[in-house]
């Protein structure tokens, strides 16, 4: 039934990673002092004092990064079967994948040139 036998380790990782946040929160409940006054009520912001609420309109610039990320994320889906079948495909497939990547490097160069990767 379970043909993918190599996924036992994956299941183990999944269980451990699911246990980490549960253990962190339970340990916090058990060990932390229970005072609920003053700065204990604030959201933890890497040591900075939080300014205002989180329910605000975010900057449009984040969306540019998200779009660029999505393009290269989808590219990974196409390269994944190439990487898995690489040893069976030979030199021609290597060149074909280089063409694929080269076209996307043009996209990256365009984004770079247009300043989509800069924050300033």
């Amino acid at each position: 039934m379970f043909v993918l036998s190599g996924y036992d380790a994956f299941l183990g990782f999944l269980l451990i990673s699911a246990a980490v946040p549960v253990l962190a929160i339970v340990a916090n409940k058990l060990l932390a002092p229970r005072s609920r006054r003053g700065e204990r009520e604030l959201t933890y912001e890497s040591g900075m004092e939080p300014i205002g609420g989180a329910w605000i309109q975010f900057n449009i610039r984040y969306y540019m990064f998200a779009l660029v990320f999505v393009i290269f994320d989808v590219e990974t889906v196409f390269l994944y079967p190439w990487a898995v079948a690489f040893h069976r495909l030979g030199l021609l497939a290597f060149i074909e994948a280089l063409v694929f990547i080269a076209i996307l490097v043009v996209a990256l160069a365009y984004a770079w040139r247009k300043g989509a990767l800069e924050w300033s």
Binding site: V3, L4, W55, Q57, V70, I71, V74, V106, Y110, A111
Partner: protein, 199 residues
């Protein structure tokens, strides 16, 4: 019942419960941010179901495309547009609920009928781990042109996204003819579209 099949049954039960509960949460929760994160959980659980069906490539594509791309875009869209505001009730809400309930119920009945009338178990043998290699071989031999066209499509999507977000190709708004603010990237708080109602 062996240990492997027991593990599989437990995994399936957990994943199916997560999918159903998460999907109900997406529909029913009033907070749209929670709904978006639950949608990511539902996508991940569906990827787990694909993994149990020995479709490892489909599972990886599900994680990369749906969790990585679609859900990230949904979250960013929420971050960009969402301001806390009081929503007024839509007129004719009861009628809308009845209609959408009918449509969803009909779709559900149709899916149940398909599930019971399909002759399961026939068809080609599953190839398991071989599947991804088989996909790669087809992608680089007889489906080479669509594969290369996909990169051109991604290039077009990238250029289109940058042009739409920056708007420095058009110096004027297409609809109204008013001049559009140049260099949206540089100016932090400029809205993407001109506010026509305020003029």
């Amino acid at each position: 019942m062996t240990i492997a099949s027991t593990t599989q049954l437990i995994c399936f039960a957990v994943l199916a419960f997560t999918v159903v509960a998460g999907a109900l949460g997406v529909v029913l929760l009033p907070n749209v941010v929670y709904a978006a994160f639950l949608l990511g959980g539902v996508f991940l659980s569906v990827a787990g179901l694909y993994l149990m069906l020995n479709a490892s490539f489909v599972a990886a594509a599900q994680v990369l495309v749906y969790v990585g791309a679609v859900n990230v875009l949904i979250l960013f869209a929420i971050m960009l547009v969402n301001k806390r505001e009081d929503l007024s009730a839509i007129p004719g809400l009861a009628l809308r609920r009845v209609l959408s309930g009918l449509v969803c119920g009909g779709l559900f009945a149709l899916l149940i009928r398909v599930a019971f009338t399909t002759p399961w178990g026939s068809g080609p043998e599953p190839v398991g781990d071989e599947a991804t290699i088989r996909i790669g071989e087809h992608l680089f031999s007889d489906y080479l042109l669509p594969f290369e066209l996909a990169s051109v499509l991604l290039l077009m999507a990238m250029i289109g996204a940058i042009v739409l977000a920056r708007r420095d190709v058009f110096s004027q708004d297409i609809a109204t003819g008013e001049s559009v603010d140049q260099g949206l990237i540089e100016k932090a708080r400029t809205p993407l579209l001109l506010d026509r109602s305020g003029r």
